[in-house]
Symmetry: C2
Amino acid sequence: MNKFKRNERIAAMTQILVNSPNKVFTLTCFTDMFAASKSTISEDLVIVKEIFENQKLGKIETITGAAGGVKYIPIISKEKKKHFVEQLQSELSKPNRRISGGLIYLGDILYDPSYAQQIGSIFAEEFLNRHVDCIVTVETKGIPLALQTAHALNVPLVVFRNTFKADDGPTISIHYPSSSGGSLKTMYAPKNAIYKNSNVLIIDAFMRGGGTLVGMRSLVKELEANVVGTGVLFEEITGREKAVEDYFSIFTIDPRKSSEHVRIQSGILKKSVLE
Amino acid sequence: MNKFKRNERIAAMTQILVNSPNKVFTLTCFTDMFAASKSTISEDLVIVKEIFENQKLGKIETITGAAGGVKYIPIISKEKKKHFVEQLQSELSKPNRRISGGLIYLGDILYDPSYAQQIGSIFAEEFLNRHVDCIVTVETKGIPLALQTAHALNVPLVVFRNTFKADDGPTISIHYPSSSGGSLKTMYAPKNAIYKNSNVLIIDAFMRGGGTLVGMRSLVKELEANVVGTGVLFEEITGREKAVEDYFSIFTIDPRKSSEHVRIQSGILKKSVLE
């Protein structure tokens, strides 16, 4: 006889799985916790899996074999993505967001914990099958999105910097050309943070010309690792060609359309893993 | 007759609550979702509440009245805190973390998504009853901890900066003295990000003399808001008095003790809300 009831086990396992996305928990971890048999735990997990699919709450994946177990993959339903896109479109179209130089104020959005979590899940879903070993961003505004992408994929985050401080430890640095002008900028990476031949996913908040992304890719190359994907939240339409190809952007911003309204589009609603 | 079984409702509600800590969900939200009565949903929630308490998975809190509902408060059990403290102590004591100038390399720890989540929950628990309206940090290394504290408390994050960029929008800035020397530094805050008279919780990764915290407090004061708490992950023992009083630090680092080993202590195990 089991010490815990089925709905108690289900509540506890759901908390543990949802709290640590993409982390594999062995069945033994749960059989020990609840003094229950593997078949009992498996039956519990089938119930969780089915209701998550039914209610579009993400995916419960069972991994068979020696390194087997179960994990939770956060996937945002198409309805929630639609709501998210509409919410951001309406937020970004507010005239009081326009600042000098045709720019849009994004600070509050980029640092909003709920937006960052949703954006991180969208990036994680997009790059789920790229065997990502770590996330890279460059300070400052992309850090929340990159952190939540790393959290959703259960991999470390490495932050490149434009300055070099005393407590950064040994770094590798490069110069890279700014895509807006001819000036050279500097970017620093912690020397031992990325393993050789590992798979790196680059995440940033904003892309205008793509110069910063070129800099990040060069620095990853210097560390002898591979860039397996690039995700940006906002891509600005500038009329000029971007310095990088092969990237995924959630929003396209065209600030030239009107001085009053910004045109923001998103292609992420076209697809969804759960459909 | 209900469309969903009790254990299905429990799995779905647990996912929704755990995914958005400290966010109040009305019972109506769940009665609509599952075509179930309020009393049925309340009974479901009692089961979740009890197993969470039993297994130390955090707290389910029911709020009565017009603005009532239910929310999940992430609380890390004493056992997990002990494990976290021991893990970090052993990690930080590794000799290869020592860098020039008696400093310790912390980059990988500060950007680790799992550590950041745990640290955020510890800060959130510590300041749960301070009626926090928003979290403030200063770029760069404190951002992940501050973001996860904001996520755990379901409040916005505001990031102060030491530089002023074109897309930062209107800012308020101050000069503040560095506590290590006589030089003046500059700190910028977004002008409209913090409401007048709101309650601000300051979170940072590291405190040596406390000069940066003084700067942050001055800037919050300029914005006519109140500092209701200050949390730092690492406090360094310098032998000199700190420039601030009344703060909560998770770890104390004494790098003077030995050139080989860093002494790291933590007082957070003394108390735990769930006990």
